[in-house]
């Protein structure tokens, strides 16, 4: 399943790439892509929607407190 989020507050495409790799490294997450410019985060995972949202939110908060994610 694909899960899409809006993500704001990322500094640059470099950081976006790092955050995406960070999320990708979590168990149960198959892939994660962050589009810095359109501020979209897409996760592919077999987990339930709430679990995915929890992982994404946790990783974003651990990355920088300026980052906010919302489900779209």
């Amino acid at each position: 399943m694909k899960f899409k989020f809006n993500v704001t507050g990322i500094d640059c495409p470099n950081c976006a790439g790092k955050l995406a790799r960070q999320i990708e490294g979590k168990e149960g997450i198959d892939s994660c892509q962050i589009n810095f410019i359109s501020e979209r985060l897409t996760v592919e995972s077999g987990l339930a929607a709430e679990e995915v949202a929890a992982i994404v939110e946790k990783e974003c908060r651990a990355f920088s407190k300026d980052i906010e994610v919302t489900k779209r």
Partner: protein, 615 residues
């Protein structure tokens, strides 16, 4: 966003308020209060940066600009450059703030450009109007779209006539007339009247949503330039850090510089090593180019198409519906024993009740016609009908032969043949009209560097030759199957060093669209297979968009390259200056955030299409 506005400016302001008296006291050599004020200034203004750097360290992935800024400002403090340490942090924050503003502005500019989807729809049920979320409207719902409103979902008009401004989707400004039965796409604006219509797609499948989806995901297909800069920064940052360490350690060992000075220069190196300005400069340009093109109805599937499209040398076209309107008209009359007018009159009268494209073309060409009787339509072959007191047959060679009509030897090929009471009276040749703008568009393409043009068509030889001659096409092939087209296209691609463009309407050209260096599907987002196969989609069927596309791609590419050269050369230059103690940390911060801001502003030029010459 709120956090950013409240948090960052506040931290910067507080930092400044503490910094100014601190700096003054420092220069007056009132050391202890100065140190206190300056430390507080650094802690408050830099708190966000420090915390994010700590988060990075905890992840064991800390080589980012925040970590580097921390090292630089704390390092400056350690070697006694208190004022410098705080100033660099403040300068960095101000720069970052402008950088965010610039990115935000570009994002908004593009979002406004693409803001073509209304959120709500006015649903009619039992004569009552109610406004609901477009997302919740099911297929088959009756909705009302008033004059001036955007169509929320793809629908078919049930009642009312109006005009449709499709410019948001197609970039074309000529409105289209709509009446019951017309399909209207979401994102278009209804003008000059209200229409009641029935939705045919959900929001997700509607045109405007699909266009947005296409444009937003285009950024995910990286261009060569983007991959280059990402790769470059992957080596650049560690390399500069190594240089910084050498800078700090080597000169003092050989007594060339005091430790303090060499550490100061090394810290400046660390600031310059930030990769952000580099990695932000290129995708921003492509995004500007993609967004700008989208507002003219040119949709890119990815940034990787730009470089191929800017160096096309061969342009291969499908004919029907691409170079021509896909609408037949009479090109010549070959009467035999009757005059031209009579031939047309008889044919048009026989075709009276038919709606076949050939019949429509003949009827349009005839000055007069009468109602025919006893009409027999013979599917795929033609019509036989009674006009006045004669029996007239209009159709293919086969039809006439089946009616035992003798045809002379010199009949034109691929025409419509007419017989009266079993006697051949002439032929009518038809052809598809070339689009008005085709000639000019092809000339512009040649001026833009296209060396050879081709038509590959499934149509008959005579029709293809006439279009080809009219437009000055270099080579044409007729009567091709889709596979035949594909093979010939492959041959053209293989025998040329430049890039090959294929333009088709996408209905059965998917393999060719996919095989060409650049495949452009013309005429809408309707066909999934075309979107799938093409590299770019031109939403309208206006051929002038083709030279526009080439120009836009070149401009975008130039801007991206400018940004690459600018960002890299400024960074290298600053490294050089700093190592000879010119400029110092200030300059280093400029090389980071200042360059990023300038690159972003430059990138936004890509949104504007270069104007057409002599127009």
């Amino acid at each position: 966003m709120k956090k950013l506005l409240l948090g960052e400016p506040f931290r910067i302001a507080a930092g400044l308020v503490l910094f100014i008296p601190g700096a003054v006291l420092h220069f007056l050599n009132i050391d202890i209060p100065a140190l206190i004020l300056l430390s507080l200034a650094l802690l408050i203004s830099g708190s966000g940066v420090f915390l994010d750097a700590l988060r990075g360290i905890r992840r064991l992935d800390f080589l980012d600009e925040k970590f580097l800024m921390c090292i630089a400002s704390i390092g400056a403090f350690v070697i006694g450059e208190y004022v410098e340490g705080v100033a660099v942090m403040l300068f960095f924050l101000v720069g970052e703030y402008f950088e965010h503003r610039a990115v935000g502005r570009s994002r908004n500019a593009i979002k406004t450009l693409l803001d073509i989807c209304p959120d709500t729809a006015t649903v009619l049920s039992d004569g009552e109007e109610c406004v609901i979320d477009a997302e919740d409207v099911e297929v088959g719902t009756v909705i009302l779209v008033r004059a001036g409103e955007r169509v929320p979902l793809d629908s078919v008009v049930e009642s009312g006539t109006a005009e449709l401004d499709t410019s948001a989707l197609t970039g074309e400004h000529l409105p289209r007339r709509i009446e019951p039965g017309s399909l209207i796409e979401s994102g278009c604006v209804v003008i000059g009247g209200a229409v009641v219509c029935r939705t045919v797609h959900t929001l997700e499948q509607s045109s405007a949503t699909r266009i947005l989806e296409l444009v937003e995901s285009a950024e995910e297909r990286k261009s060569r330039e983007e991959s280059f800069i990402t790769k470059f920064s992957r080596y650049y940052t560690p390399a500069v850090i190594v240089l910084a360490i050498l800078m700090a350690a080597v000169p003092p060992i050989f007594n060339l510089l005091p430790l303090r000075d060499s550490v100061y220069r090394a810290l400046s190196f660390l600031v310059v090593s930030c990769p952000c300005a580099l990695v932000i400069s290129v995708p921003m340009a492509f995004f500007g180019g993609i967004g700008g093109a989208a507002s003219r109805g040119i949709l890119y599937k990815g940034g990787n198409t730009f470089s191929a499209i800017s160096r096309i040398e061969n342009a291969v076209f499908d004919k029907t519906g691409t170079l021509t309107r896909g609408e037949l008209s009479v090109s010549a009359l070959h009467p035999c024993g009757v005059d031209e007018e009579e031939l047309l009159y008889l044919a048009a009268s026989a075709e009276f009740g038919s709606t076949h494209p050939i019949a429509e073309a003949i009827k349009r060409a005839a000055r007069s016609r009468s109602r025919s009787q006893d009409i027999e339509e013979i599917g795929g072959a033609g019509v036989v009908a009674t006009v006045g007191d004669a029996r007239v047959a209009v159709g293919t060679e086969k039809l006439l032969l089946s009616l035992d009509v003798a045809l002379p030897d010199d009949v034109p090929a691929g025409a419509v043949y007419v017989a009266r009471d079993g006697v051949y009276i002439g032929a009518i040749t038809l052809f598809d009209t070339v689009k008005d703008e085709a000639r000019e568009a092809l000339q512009e393409l040649r001026a833009l560097g296209v060396k050879r043009t081709y038509i590959l068509s499934g149509d008959n030889e005579a029709a293809v030759r006439s279009v080809s001659e009219e437009l000055g096409i270099d080579e044409y092939r007729a009567e091709l199957t889709p596979e035949g087209k594909f093979e010939l296209l492959e041959h053209i691609i293989d025998s040329s060093s430049g890039a090959t463009l294929f333009v088709g309407d996408g209905i059965n050209d998917a393999p060719s669209l996919a095989r060409a260096d650049v495949g452009i599907a013309m005429g809408g987002v309707g066909s999934d297979s075309a979107i799938e196969a093409a590299d770019a989609v031109i939403v309208s069927d206006n051929l002038s968009r083709l030279p526009d596309t080439v120009r836009g791609a070149r401009r975008t590419l130039t801007i991206a390259k400018e940004n690459i050269v600018f960002a890299i050369s400024v960074k290298l230059l600053v490294l050089l200056l700093v190592s000879f103690d010119i400029g110092g940390m200030w300059l280093a911060v400029f090389a980071d955030v200042g360059v990023a801001v300038i690159a972003i502003l430059n990138a936004m030029r890509a949104m504007k299409l270069p104007s057409r010459k002599n127009k």
